[in-house]
Symmetry: C2
Subunit: 433 residues, 2 copies
């Protein structure tokens, strides 16, 4: 089996190393050797410095795609520019493709899956979601006998590191972000991570393979953590909750929700205790119940571990037959159906609200009456003690399960009260059980 | 594909239900229907009452094994008596076998794997370890590119439920066990669970597929939780640890450790926070780092979820070829090698010790001198305050990493001191990082 690796950067270099350093362990499991035979990178010098002398090195990626001796292309350039062209052409040329590129699959997966199916080749993307955690395999194969009811995942290590630091060391967002950048957990331009886009790419992919729906990135509701206040993290803790940036996908069979936003989770839940740059995905199957998968969501070796697992899977099934074993999106292509995706106003959730209001006699009565008028109950509520220099102490509460549009009406009414000072903070809350 | 199910009890009934209730979801993933076609149970009436009219029901399991129209046998009787005979004959007759029987695989796996290989059929056992968690698939396939360095798992839900109750509600072992029995989490005869035998069956299997060594149940060092005192759980908590019954397998490539015993784990570790009857397996790969897999380790539907996943895997690969895709024990049969298995005296661990001694002047000096003489350091130590009616307050401590035989020498020396009242309690401690 000849394997062409395109992009010898962090993950590409890691993949080369994993297959080389663990060659004997892998060969003992496979009965054959698995080896990168060709490498392409526009930085030809870097490529030559990274790989052994007996590997064919090219500057032009398309030389590998046109090479008929190569069976499998490993795309590790990233992005949706030239990577899209490379993967598309490779599949059209009848080559299996392994990629770690979440943006590519989330935004162009529909087209690429069709090309892969048409050409009877494998398009593998384990490394695109949650790095080294074998979550695609767990859902498509391990839980294949289940109907997946919902998924809730910490899918971005950068934001989880920042949230952990904000909580543990009482840091404001900006300081925690700076620290993440200094330590290499966040990029110079952190927008994709902190605004939830990266997590949204990943939950898009998971929703598709879990529910048998087309890949539809546009349908995801996305909120990041950049406007999150340390205060809300502390208050959540007082109520027994942690705040995590979750990718959430749910279905009741007729409707689907796909969303990424900061979420309060009861501190007792295992996923609430996933700290630092780690990832974890909680999957609820209708037979197995809750299962959780935890590990490193990024980094050269962990991501390479998943890329290499995909290569091994392809090699194993190529030894058996030239047909593909598992449908690319978990379900047979003709069984993938669109389902109605709920807009965010139509989802049901509990809500954490924080109010900043002038402390006058009768204020709490006014607020609670608004909730009562709308027949929405309050599960817990804290009115911080009035102290010197703090005439407008915070009020925070968690509602019962409510339609989001109904909460928005209540928020508007409260914000119209003369006592109201600031915009009300609203954070969704999930019990995850 | 004709599938014969033998044993229509809890898990058997669950498997029948999963494949029936989720038939359309499964068919959407497979492109074909997966259906139990034959059932055998010595309770013929129960079998007939459980399954639909169109299923062939037999009293004699061997009728299914001799039926040449059946491709796959699902053995859900349990135990190592008739189940061994059934699985052996089914494999010899060229049938794939799916089983949830951990005792069978742990004690007779070597023989059965050989028969499966010889007859080129699949022997699948995902449900035998950690119930619904797809841990066999994660290790054999998802982490295939890794050398597994160690595994530490909560592999028995009964004991984890008991330990959780002992900790949360300050119960003695006997009360917590009684409660587990009342709630159906423990059997009338709980010996296999509480003495660690069930967990030992499972870690035996995991060690084999992780390290490429023969299945060798006899080599496992096994200690249960029946002599564990609530006091030690509280003291561990004071030191920042939780006590869990862990199945541990480690290798440094030349030596292997396989053991089951109560273990102190830092409370910060995710696996320390797995409570109630749930299971979790922490797997350290040399490339991916730590990964954790969590879910229900028992129960009809969760176990059936894993049994059904194995059936689906067999069906998928049968559609491709009549060759087997993945070697039964993860490694190619000729690459499975015995490694030296360390006896418990030769392992290295940190140790929690609890001493019950008469409180005399110079006692602590005597004790700490014994450690100093053997050049073993103490990481933390608590001498409970002397109060009225408590002339012999407890002393507990955690040592640095030490060879077990060296600690045993120290324990003997301390127990020979005239102040010593009771046998010293020793519990191994793992940092799990």
């Amino acid at each position: 089996m000849n394997i062409g690796l395109i992009g010898i950067g962090t993950v590409g270099g890691g993949t080369y190393r994993v297959l080389k350093d663990n060659a004997s362990a892998i060969s003992n499991k496979m009965g054959i050797d698995i080896k990168i035979t060709h490498v392409a990178d526009k930085n030809l010098k870097l490529a030559k410095d990274t790989v052994d002398k007996d590997i064919t090195v090219e500057e032009n990626a398309f030389a590998l795609i046109q090479n008929s001796s190569i069976d499998t292309i490993v795309e590790l350039i990233g992005g949706t520019g030239v990577a899209l062209e490379i993967v598309r052409k490779a599949l059209e040329n009848g080559k299996h493709v392994v990629t770690a590129n979440k943006a590519l699959i989330a935004m162009h997966g529909e087209e690429l899956v069709k090309i892969a199916n048409k050409n009877n080749v494998v398009l593998a993307y384990e490394a695109a979601v949650a790095g080294g955690i074998p979550i695609i395999k767990a859902i498509r194969e391990g839980l294949a006998a289940n109907e997946v009811e919902w998924i809730a995942g910490i899918l971005n290590g950068t934001t989880n590191y920042i949230l952990t630091e904000m909580k543990e060391n009482n840091l404001p967002f900006d300081t925690a972000l700076q620290q993440a950048q200094d330590l290499g957990f966040a990029e110079a331009d952190p927008t994709f991570d902190i605004e939830g886009v990266d997590a949204a790419h990943k939950i898009t992919i998971l929703a598709s393979i879990a529910f048998g729906i087309p890949i539809n990135f546009e349908a995801v509701h996305v909120e990041g953590i950049s406007s999150l206040s340390q205060k809300d993290i502390s208050y959540a803790e007082e109520l027994g909750y942690r705040i995590k940036l979750l990718g959430i996908a749910k279905t009741d069979n007729s409707n689907v929700e796909i969303r990424v936003h900061p979420t309060l989770i009861p501190e007792k839940r295992l996923v609430a205790n996933v700290d630092g740059p780690m990832n974890a995905v909680l999957v609820q199957g209708n037979m197995v119940g809750p299962t959780l998968y935890y590990g490193a969501g990024a980094g050269a070796e962990p991501t390479a571990s998943a890329v290499a697992a995909d290569i091994i899977d392809i090699a194993r099934q190529s030894m058996l037959s030239n047909k593909t074993l598992i449908p690319t999106l978990g379900f047979m292509p003709d069984k993938i159906h669109k389902k109605n995706i709920l807009s965010i106003e139509n989802i049901f959730s509990e809500f954490y609200l924080r109010l900043t209001m002038k402390n006058k006699v009768g204020l709490l009565a006014k607020i609670t009456n608004i909730f009562a008028d709308h027949e929405i109950s309050i599960n817990s509520m804290v009115h911080k003690e009035v102290k010197e220099n703090n005439l407008n102490p915070d009020i925070f509460l968690i509602t019962s399960k409510t339609k989001e549009s109904d909460i928005d009406v209540i928020i508007k009414e409260i914000e119209l009260l003369p006592e109201n000072i600031e915009k009300i903070v609203k954070i969704r809350t999930e019990e995850l059980k």
